[in-house]
Amino acid sequence: MKTYAPFRSSPLRASLSFMLLSAVFIAGCGKKAPIPPPPPPPSGGGTTAAPAGPGTPTVASFTVEPASIERGQSAVVRWSVTNATSVSIDHGIGTVEATGSSRVVPTDTTTYTLTASGTSGNVTRTATVTVTAPAPPPAPVSNNAGSARGTLDSRVQSDLQDALFDYDSNNIRDDARRALTDDAEALKRIFADFPGSTINVEGHCDERGSAEYNLGLGDRRASAARDFLVQLGVPADRLKTISYGKERPACTESNEACWQKNRRAHFSSGQ
């Protein structure tokens, strides 16, 4: 009888990682725009409380355009006043000429007040610009935004395509040449975005050759793809080859369509 050390029964280490789905609530539109004041009476109109007289200024126009902007954009305040001894506008614009304009960059919805002073009284007018929050930036490609590793994984998955091979061959076919040429550019971008990262070039085989020989063949395929990429300027020290032989098929049916999918150089993120 043999004696065995008590082996741990291999525990199912399917560690369940809970992904926190961070729902992004786009803060709607900042503050509600105040109800704009009623339009100014027509100049010289009869409803003005202060009778138009030689000492009373008249505000011909006072506007902000456009009436609504996104935060960060600018608007133009325009005014035209007659019969005033001085004209001033609040919110930092200050004393101005009787007619003019000023570019403003309000960060929030702002109501500007123009005060025109005459020898026999003052007249005020207001004009409002509504400032909205800018549209949210485009969502990142990754579902795992926030984890650099996850982003590298997803970039490898989305940006890099397999190079396919003939049976029992590690020759780079024309279609593989095209795929790897695209991959070389994509790899350079990924390496630029993820300094210090490495990417595995995996060699795979279909199910027909022996498992042992296929480990060797997968190794040849991975290095053929790696060598091709290095020729195109991908840094060799950031590519690592690994053969899976026929131990990790992408497709498990026994037909040529499936076998072709499995005869591949495939990319995965390394460290």
Binding site: T3, Y4, S10, A211, E212, Y213, G216, D219, K240, I242
Partner: protein, 449 residues
């Protein structure tokens, strides 16, 4: 001058003699040259408390002898009326009643050998007296091949034990180069996708135990000649590399892996002092040899083709078989220093998994000859004559054949029932027995223990 001439004649004679021996038909080798002994195994009886155990005992003894593949078992319906129980029961002539050896040798029984004896309960133990006689001998004294006393506990386990021991002695008496008893089969089991561990079980599928706990893909084991270590390929540290596990306690032993994307298919040499393996350290996967701890490695061959599965001949350490190209994978041979490379299989189909018979004259291997690529079957080849026999016939994929220490049984992996499972069979393809059912089981190798 004269001396050289004489030497030439001498070597020609040796070559001729060798040729004659090698030319023996492989089927005859498999079936046993000159026909198998015809064994008449009587039903043993026991005294007192031993009698209730005799059903277990007789069943075990018969099964062990039959499954050895060494004998033709004579049907009990052809036996004479009486069975001898002790040698003194035997007499020169019994008029076909059973107490004369000639009664067993003649028609209709036709046995070449008679197995008989009895058991008794003695001092609380089970005692077996077992005998084997050659029925064709005139002289009863000269006819005795085996007469042995065995002791076990007075229970079913004891009855099984003494039956195994007696059967083992009989098998060895008939040139069986070792018993299966105590031998172990090492293999790879997967019960979770992409997790493959090394397991061990008894030769009959009993006592299945997990050896490694690496939570990785660990495959392609090779067992040391003394059965104490299993070397294998694992992804536990990223790229495929070699690890060694102690079969008695499951502990990992140190092995130096070369800086390479691939180190794989390790196999112990028959003297147990070296490991041959394949490594991509020089770019292309090629054969290397190394000490048991992986140190002092050196490259064996310099060929422009993938090389894997190095297997050193058990009788001649200068003959190394391996699997390689160029072209479709075939079995090749070379010297231990990489010279004299020759293709062994004839180039048809694809060939792999060469496994040496302990006799150093035969290999079992996998071949797709006669079938589509990927349709593997187990073959046996006489490496001297290159004659081969096909043992499986495309019932699923049949791969990784490996010889039992007795040189007559083969363990292999087959997908005949769906997922890959481990089976044993005799070297003539008969007596196929499934050993595993749970999970997916691959890459079996047979160790002496």
């Amino acid at each position: 001058m004269k001396k050289t001439y004489r030497l030439l004649i001498l070597s020609a004679c040796i070559a001729l003699a060798a040729g004659v021996i090698l030319a023996q038909d492989i089927t005859a080798w498999i079936n046993g040259v000159g026909g198998k002994p015809a064994l008449a195994v009587t039903d043993f009886r026991g005294t007192g408390a031993a009698q209730p155990l005799m059903s277990t005992f007789n069943g075990t003894l018969f099964s062990d002898l039959q499954s050895s593949g060494l004998f033709n078992m004579v049907a009990k319906s052809l036996f004479p009326l009486n069975n001898p129980q002790v040698p003194t029961d035997l007499r020169p002539d019994d008029n076909k009643q059973g107490y004369a050896l000639g009664d067993w040798a003649g028609a209709p029984t036709g046995a070449s050998h008679l197995v008989f004896g009895y058991t008794a309960a003695q001092n609380g133990l089970l005692v077996l007296n077992g005998y084997v006689f050659d029925t064709r001998q005139e002289n009863v004294q000269a006819a005795q091949l085996l007469g042995q006393r065995y002791v076990g506990t007075l229970d079913e386990a004891g009855a099984t034990k003494v039956a195994h021991e007696f059967a083992n002695d009989i098998i060895q008496k008939f040139g069986g180069s070792g018993s299966l008893l105590g031998s172990r089969i090492y293999f790879v089991r997967s019960t979770i996708k992409n997790i493959d561990e090394i397991w061990a079980m008894d030769w009959d599928g009993g006592n299945q135990k997990q050896l490694t706990n690496l939570h990785s893909t660990s495959i392609m084991p090779g067992v040391s000649p003394d059965g104490t270590r299993v070397a294998f390929t694992t992804y536990a540290k990223g790229t495929p590399r070699i690890m060694i596990v102690n079969t008695e306690n499951g502990r990992l032993l140190p092995f130096y892996n070369q800086e390479a994307s691939l180190n794989t298919t390790p196999n112990f040499t028959p003297d147990g002092k070296q490991i041959y393996y394949a490594s991509s350290a020089a770019g292309l996967p090629q054969i290397f040899s190394a000490a048991l701890d992986g140190e002092n490695f050196h490259r064996v061959s310099y060929r422009d083709a993938i090389e894997v599965e190095p297997k050193v001949n058990p009788k001649n350490p200068d003959i190394l078989y391996f699997v390689s190209g160029p072209g479709p994978q075939q079995i090749y041979s070379m010297t231990a220093e990489g010279a004299n490379v020759q293709r062994v299989t004839n180039g048809e189909g694809e060939a792999s998994n060469p496994a040496w018979n302990p006799d150093g004259q035969h290999i079992a291997f996998s071949w797709t000859r006669g079938y589509a690529a990927g349709d593997w079957n187990v073959f046996v080849m006489d490496v001297g004559t290159r004659q081969y026999v096909q043992l499986t016939h495309s019932e699923g994929r049949n791969e990784n054949p490996n010889w039992a220490p007795d040189g007559r049984h083969i363990v292999f992996a087959s997908t005949r029932s769906g997922r890959s499972q481990i089976y044993t069979m005799l070297a003539d393809g008969s007596q196929v027995k499934p050993l595993t059912q749970q999970g997916t089981n691959r890459y079996p190798v047979w160790g002496v223990k």
